[in-house]
């Protein structure tokens, strides 16, 4: 489940996989300082040692590139979280803590976070498959934190959706400087109350 980044495409050769990695790494690096606008396609291509046309063959737009970067990062967080799950008795608190931990992870590279989230929310329909993938990983992160022993109920799934909405929107408001981290925590905790209803 953590594999298969492009299910429908023919498998990439080793050199191609390496190019893809170089591109993603370069994008993340440029984003880390400078954020969304600092990720300039010409510069990504040059630093990744790839022609501009090739970059566009791998990622059909800047938004695709940054959404793919977000997939990458989220999967890292997911692995981390699976290795070291949050402790606690209350499922709601575990979910809130897990998301806050992810939040602090993003906070460590705020410019990178800004770039990825801007891309995510700016994405139009042509990127919906990739965005959906990000959404699926986030949902899985929450479900993991709930620590279910049996399949989730309809109500739980509905609550997860609202938590996901809250997570996403709170991230946006924090990135644009309209909410503090403390406020984000409160919002997430409020949404998580829906789990223990």
């Amino acid at each position: 489940m953590t594999t298969s980044p492009r299910p429908t495409a023919p498998p990439l050769t080793e050199r191609q996989e390496a190019r893809r990695r170089r591109i993603l790494h370069t994008a993340a690096q440029l984003a880390s300082r400078g954020g969304f606008e600092a990720v300039q396609m010409r510069e990504v291509a040059e630093l990744a040692g790839v022609a501009l046309g090739t970059l566009y063959r791998y990622f059909p737009s800047k938004v695709h590139l940054l959404v793919a970067t977000m997939q990458d990062q989220l999967q890292l967080f997911q692995e981390q979280t699976r290795k070291h799950p949050v402790e606690g008795d209350d499922p709601g608190a575990r979910v809130a803590d897990t998301l806050m931990r992810t939040f602090r992870g993003l906070q460590r590279e705020p410019q990178l976070a800004e770039a990825m989230v801007r891309a995510l929310t700016f994405a139009d329909r042509s990127v919906s498959a990739e965005v959906d993938q990000v959404s699926r990983i986030t949902g899985q992160l929450i479900l993991d934190a709930m620590g279910l022993t049996e399949p989730p109920t309809r109500e739980q799934l509905a609550a997860v959706r609202v938590i996901e909405h809250t997570w996403h929107s709170a991230l946006v408001t924090w990135l644009s400087g309209r909410a503090s981290i403390a406020q984000v925590r409160i919002d997430l905790e409020t949404a998580c109350k829906l789990l223990t209803l």
Copy 2:
């Protein structure tokens, strides 16, 4: 409270106010067919009968322009809703219905909605004041629908925030074709459960 669109700026002359209206109207018209990308600054300027430089004097970027358009539209919805409030006993249901009504209003011009919401979520810090204003109007819409007889409690305000997050994020997922209207309704209803906790 529904006045004062630009509190810090010197008052506009009549001609200037008319220009501003023409620009906003033109932007909405172009957005209505074609969405975000159809709102091209040169074309807005030309159709509004204004030089490009002037357009930029009134709205320092395309995002500013579209966020201002959203303010306009939201205020119209707010007035409508105040004139014809949603009936019902349950505050949560009233809020959900009110938001769904607003939703259907946006649905009537989906391209316009797409343009405004894309702008809203793409906005960076330089637009945060204007985005905040939109957020304030939305929050007020929800508070109105709650029909409070006394000031809201801390818990109610927290719930309103989560509902607002849900509203906003659900709108985005609907616009990018990743959620149906039925799903949006469910998400809003789920979030509104927080009100009657």
